[in-house]
């Protein structure tokens, strides 16, 4: 007789039956016929052999005492064998494997232990019970190589029969009783959570809540087309997946339900379980439930609809719904080329639940979890997603936020369409978001999470979240932590800055000089080391940009005051601020410059062309004396004049010296260097009588509405700057050269030499790609190579003297490089948050972190 048994792919299967009941034989047949793997069998006999070199030892003896001792020995071995077996079982459970336990398993307590292991790992447990009559068993035992002996078989049989009655209550997902000896078993394997292959692509859709019209808009925007049967299909064969909560609160829950039932049944879409779905399921099944939070609306819709059918039809339709909702899994795994890339769940999931199924997991996925715990006396909201590790991305909904929120490889795509927000789709493998706006707010004002978010977005940053130090989790980069002692001075400094926090949305990172000093005797920095750094890291295509000598400035300009108010909380055209976050110009001058730029941009329809409300630029603002006049007067000018005066007068005196000496010549060289020093900074200064003498050289187009440009190549940025400079004369282009490979190096070095000999600051070497990763690590986004003359104003007039240069070449740029990467990451993160219009506090923490990192003691000359 053939038995067909359905078994999970991941789980625990107990074989139950006394010695000789055919457990091993049954499993061996399954292995031989290729239905299970040898490695899936955990056999107690084998473990006895592993721990004690013997599968079996006879405990039968005529001498009672001897028999007792033999039995004790057997027990000791068995104990060790089972401990090891259980350890293996636990490991296999953790890895979501299936294990067949080949042991007698006749005691209920022994079985319970194994059952609890399966439960602990949220895996199903099944049992195959071999209930063979005693005579057959005894006959078979006689035929064995090591007969267990009739006494033991009888004992086992007695216990087996006694404990058999508990089997029904031990809680197996499946219990198979086999009574015939010559049985044939056929195994059908089943995935607990069958993974979805990404196929032509998948579009994951956030909480719909009966916003049927918006759903159809979104599907159309995603490229789905309605076919003759009224089904939405994608010309490329893409499928869509709902994260649940397709009904309730909104206006058209019934249609949405029918739509998904239809599409899921036609294998065009997927839907997962959710809190509202589960509530409606139980209501349909007739359970006692309280219908609230919009479920009452869904129930009403369904009831009205059902009323139009006959009683019989009603039952059928109800059952269809029950089946549909009941079959929705707690989560889906999406595989790309056989690799699990995404996990889709409604409200959350723990990492150890992924790929498994249990009541507990279902509940967790429906409602999520958040708790508060205390750390150093401060309550910390402990959300489930903080505990997600690894690179599998978890896509979830349930908790509406105004924009897709990426934290720790989890992405929330519930943008509260029913609350007047958006309905979002996450596209894989594109990893992009497509959203449609809600036609209206269906939920009123009270307890509307989207309206609450928006009203709170512009609130000042919460100081308690910053002051003792904090950690920033970033969308694309490694976390950055900052210590309280560095944060405090930053809070002080930002409190005296005039820049409104709503406008303070980006700060430029520090930049490392070439990591290795020049090998040439009379250079401290040289381009060749920068080229080699990138070449060694596999980057050949580089851009070298001339470094302007001015002051770094960030320029934020809005299309008009209204949109500015919406983004920043204040209605003015924008802001220009320095790298320390301070207002760059006096207020009236800033206003004039912004007005000039904004009107030029408007005249040229810049905002329309790029569909943006603003443009954010990273610039160098010249001349240097705009910001540095005080520094020049008190520092450079004074130093230059002092040096020249000192050395000139000394020159006369040494000329008159009674004794001939080397000092004269030495002083002559020093005088020359002092004069060259003076020329260096003079080049960077000119008088600014009016704003038309001010020059702004943008080199990064940081962001437009909804877009951050850190993945566009620098050549794109340079072209865009060119466009800006044609639009408005205050903007200046930056000279640059491209390097395709080593053959271009020489030409670039010559160029560098030429401009730096004229006194220009130097150049910046960047991978043209902008953001480059090598072996999972971010590379320096830019390295500066400063000219020999310019470095005089950094390292001192006489730094090229051998005795100085030798010491200076020992400088270490490691710390600086690390800061450069961290600040770069934080800057991009701030931009990402800004373009998504996240709360000011979320943007501000990045700003504070950058400034706090700058507070670290690093040689400021680097």
């Amino acid at each position: 007789m053939r038995r067909r048994i359905t078994l999970p792919n991941a789980g625990v299967v107990l074989l139950v039956g006394p010695s000789g009941s055919g457990k091993t034989t049954l499993l061996q047949n399954l292995v031989d016929s290729g239905q299970i793997k040898d490695s899936e069998i955990l056999s107690s006999d084998k473990y006895r052999k592993i721990v004690a070199d013997q599968e079996y030892n006879s405990v039968e003896s005529t001498d009672n005492k001897m028999a007792q001792i033999l039995f004790e020995q057997y027990q000791r071995i068995s104990k060790e064998a089972f401990e090891l077996l259980e350890l293996t079982l636990e490991a296999r459970c953790r890895l979501n494997k299936c294990s067949f336990i080949d042991a007698t398993n006749i005691n209920s307590d022994d079985r319970k232990k194994l059952i609890s292991i399966a439960h602990r790992h949220h895996l199903p447990i099944s049992a195959i019970v071999l209930d063979i009559d005693l005579d057959t068993l005894l006959m078979r035992d006689n035929e064995r190589v090591f007969p267990r002996g009739s006494k033991r078989i009888k004992q086992q049989m007695k216990r087996f029969q006694y404990h058999k009655r508990y089997l029904k209550t031990e809680g197996y997902h499946q219990l198979h009783m086999i009574k015939e000896l010559n049985h044939s078993v056929e195994i059908e394997r089943m995935d607990e959570v069958p993974p979805i292959d990404v196929g032509a692509g998948i579009d994951i859709i956030g909480d719909i809540h009966g916003c049927y019209t918006e759903l159809l808009h979104l599907l159309e925007k995603l490229g789905y087309e309605e076919n003759e049967q009224g089904l939405y299909t994608h010309p490329l064969g893409r499928k869509f997946l709902s994260l649940g909560d397709i009904m309730s609160r909104g206006p058209r829950s019934l249609e949405t339900l029918l739509f998904f039932k239809n599409h899921v049944n036609n294998n065009l879409a997927y839907m997962i379980d959710s809190n509202h779905g589960w509530k409606i399921y139980r209501w349909l099944k007739g359970n006692q439930v309280t219908l609230q939070h919009g479920d009452e609306l869904t129930a009403k819709e369904i009831n009205q609809w059902l009323a139009t059918y006959s009683e019989e039809e009603q039952k059928r339709l109800k059952d269809e719904f029950i089946q549909f909702l009941g079959d929705a899994p707690a989560h889906y795994i999406i595989e790309d080329k056989g690799v699990p890339m995404l996990v889709c769940t409604h409200a959350g999931i723990k990492d150890e639940y992924i790929g498994k199924k249990s009541q507990q997991i279902s509940d967790y996925c429906r409602y999520g979890e958040s708790s508060s715990r205390m750390k150093d006396g401060i309550p910390i909201r402990d959300e489930w997603y903080h505990h997600h590790t690894g690179h599998m991305t978890i896509i979830w909904g349930h908790d509406p936020r105004p924009y897709p929120t990426t934290i720790n490889s989890t992405i929330n795509i519930d943008q509260g369409v029913v609350f007047g927000g958006k309905l979002t789709a996450y596209r894989y493998p594109e990893k992009s978001f497509v959203a449609v706006d809600a036609l209206k707010n269906y939920n009123g004002v009270e307890h509307n999470p989207i309206i609450e978010w928006k009203s709170k977005r512009l609130l000042p940053p919460n100081i308690q979240a910053l002051i003792e130090g904090f950690r920033i989790q970033m969308e694309e980069f490694e976390d950055v932590s900052v210590k309280g002692k560095y944060v405090k001075p930053v809070i002080g400094s930002l409190s005296t800055a005039d820049t409104h926090f709503g406008q303070l949305v980006y700060l430029p990172p520090t930049m490392s000089p070439v990591p290795i000093p020049s090998q040439l005797p009379d250079y401290l920095e040289h381009p060749i080391e920068a080229f080699k750094y990138y070449q060694d890291n596999g980057v050949n295509q580089l851009i070298v940009e001339k470094k302007h000598m001015g002051s770094r400035g960030i320029l934020l300009i809005f299309k008009n005051e209204e949109v500015a108010l919406n983004y920043t909380g204040i209605s003015n055209l924008g802001a220009i601020y320095s790298r320390s976050g301070k207002r760059f110009f006096k207020k009236d001058i800033e206003e004039r410059i912004l007005t000039v730029i904004q009107s030029s941009l408007k005249e040229n329809d810049y905002f329309g062309k790029y569909e943006t409300d603003f443009v954010l630029l990273d610039c160098e603002i010249m001349p240097w004396n705009l910001k540095a006049q005080d520094l020049i007067n008190k520092q450079y000018e004074l130093v230059a004049e002092s040096a020249i005066l000192d050395r000139k007068i000394l020159d006369q005196a040494l000329n008159e010296s009674m004794v001939e000496n080397q000092w004269l010549k030495e002083n002559e060289e020093k005088l020359e260097r002092a004069e060259s020093f003076q020329k260096v900074y003079e080049k960077y200064c000119w008088e600014v009588s009016d704003i038309d003498r001010i020059v702004i050289a943008p080199f990064h187009i940081l962001a437009h509405s909804g877009r951050v440009y850190h993945e566009n190549p620098h050549t794109w940025h340079m072209t865009h700057v060119e466009e800006l400079s044609n639009i408005c004369s205050i903007f200046r282009r930056t000279e640059y050269l491209l390097i395709e490979d080593e053959s271009d190096w020489k030409q670039v070095i010559n160029w560098w030499k030429e401009i730096t000999e004229e006194g220009h600051e130097g150049m910046v070497v960047k991978p043209n790609q902008f953001t480059v990763w090598e072996k999972g690590k971010l590379l320096q986004p830019a390295l500066k190579v400063r000219g020999r003359k310019y470095l005089q104003i950094i390292y001192g007039i006489d730094y090229l003297e051998e005795k100085y240069l030798e010491r200076l070449k020992k400088r270490n740029t490691k710390r600086k490089q690390k800061l450069a990467l961290q600040e770069f990451s934080l800057g991009i993160e701030a931009l990402n948050r800004f373009v998504k219009q996240e709360e000011i506090g979320r943007i501000h923490e990045c700003i504070v972190a950058i400034l706090a990192l700058e507070g670290d003691e690093v040689d400021p000359r680097l």
Binding site: G492, S642, D646
Partner: protein, 439 residues
């Protein structure tokens, strides 16, 4: 940095013995990488010209300064200017002359007067040439300077009849007085030794007090009571108005005994909070301040106040009105004493929104300068403090207050602090916002 000594007169060549430096040899001495060098330009029986200069090791100069560095520390006129640093480096090379202890046979020449010119430079000073003359003329010197432009460094020559020792000692006192730099490089022992050099002439110098004041930069050089005197004078001017402000604020708080929980926003060095700490009805003071320096000062002040009975220790919080803090909600009094004028107007708007919409104190007290009164201070167009973003006339304040009361559920009254000028009002204006009670 260099000093040239030029002496004329009979037996002027005796100078080589008073200096203990051989005229036909180059003198060089190294100290921590710095080189002290001396050479003669002229050496005849009746005329000697000798120059001493220092070649500084720029890197070790920076390394020795021992502070947290910013970029300005590396490009530094200290490498060139005559200063206490220069003096401390050349002092041991000139020890024989300064101490007046040449070989015994030349001892009588220590008191020998010659026609001297001392030339030194570069001098970086905020003093005018006239000021310099006032320093050197009483000592019998005539002074001339060589310079490029008005603000450029000077090369100074003083000429007069004096002894080598006296002339040098006077330079050792006066050069640091002229130099306008913070003296990072001098220790107290050095100062004591320098004090010796003033013996016999400094007490009679008409600019004595002023020289002391300039030399205040030296610790230990000046008597404590002089320092104290200067400090007290400075504080006296400020005190009046501050005092009046505090008194007015306290009067308001005490007039309403139900005002018990107070926030002093921008509490600075804690003067107001300390006074509040002694008020009997007050049950909580939160002093909020974002500056580390001020916070530390305030901490000391509170600790000192706590030695007296009945003092309620203010709770110090790091923050400002640009950050949200849960702990500032729903208190009785929110004080902004001379704070708002330091805030850019855009930011002020957001700050007031935070106070009136989130913190919702029962009373908010604001003091700020009255711009009209500035004429009486003869300030012209400039503001009272360099950090002020604005100063308002009475009408401007009124307009702002009306805007606030229109926007938020508060009513307000404005009054004056300080002497009232019938045309220009009082120096300080005070606004009291009170939360409107819903009826």
């Amino acid at each position: 940095m260099q000093l040239t000594i030029h002496a004329k007169g009979e037996d002027a060549n005796i100078l080589s013995f008073l200096l203990a430096k051989h005229p036909e040899r180059l003198y060089e001495k190294e100290h921590k990488g710095h080189k002290v060098r001396l050479f003669y330009q002229t050496f005849t029986p009746n005329e000697v010209k000798v120059t001493i200069y220092v070649v500084l090791d720029a890197i070790s100069l920076v390394r020795d300064s021992g502070e947290k560095l910013d970029i300005t520390h590396y490009i530094n006129d200290r490498e060139f200017a005559v200063s206490s640093l220069f003096l401390s480096l050349i002092r041991s090379s000139l020890a024989t002359a300064l101490n007046g202890l040449p070989k015994e046979e030349y001892l009588p020449y220590v008191r020998q007067v010659f026609q001297f010119s001392y030339s030194f430079g570069p001098v970086n000073t905020d003093l005018s040439v006239e000021n310099l003359r006032e320093l050197f003329s009483p000592l019998g010197f005539t002074l001339s300077v060589q310079t490029e432009t008005k603000n450029s460094p000077l090369y100074v020559t003083v000429t007069g009849e004096t002894t080598l020792q006296k002339g040098l000692r006077q330079l050792f006192i006066l050069i640091p007085v002229i130099d306008n730099y913070k003296h990072y490089f001098i220790d107290e022992k050095e100062a004591e030794k320098l004090q010796r050099f003033g013996e016999g002439w400094l007490d009679d110098h008409p600019q004595k007090e002023w020289i002391y004041k300039r030399a205040l930069k030296y610790k230990g050089l000046l008597d404590d009571h002089i320092t104290e005197h200067i400090k007290v004078e400075k504080e006296k001017k400020q005190k009046g108005l501050n005092q009046l402000r505090y008194e007015k604020i306290i009067e308001i708080i005490q007039s309403k005994p139900h005002l018990r929980k107070i926030i002093d926003m921008g509490s600075g060095e804690g003067k107001l909070s300390t006074r509040l700490g002694f008020l009997p009805n007050v049950s909580e003071i939160i002093a909020v301040e974002p500056s580390e320096r001020e916070t530390l000062k305030a901490k000391k002040r509170y600790a000192k106040a706590a030695e007296n009975p009945g003092f309620l220790m203010p709770m110090q919080k790091w923050g400002s009105v640009f950050y949200y803090d849960d702990g500032l909600k729903n208190k009785d009094v929110f004080i902004l004493c001379e704070v708002i004028e330091h805030i850019a107007e855009e930011k002020l708007h957001t700050a007031m929104q935070l106070i009136f919409q989130e913190y919702k104190p029962a009373v908010c007290i604001i003091t700020t300068p009255n711009k009209e009164y500035n004429t009486l201070y003869q300030l012209g167009e400039s503001m009272r403090h360099y950090d002020h973003r604005f100063e308002w006339t009475r009408a401007e304040l009124l307009a702002w207050v009306e805007k606030m009361t229109d926007m938020y559920a508060y009513k307000a009254s404005i009054s004056s602090i300080g002497e009232v000028d019938h045309k220009r009002g009082s120096p300080t204006q005070i606004v009291v916002f009170e939360k409107e009670v819903m009826v």
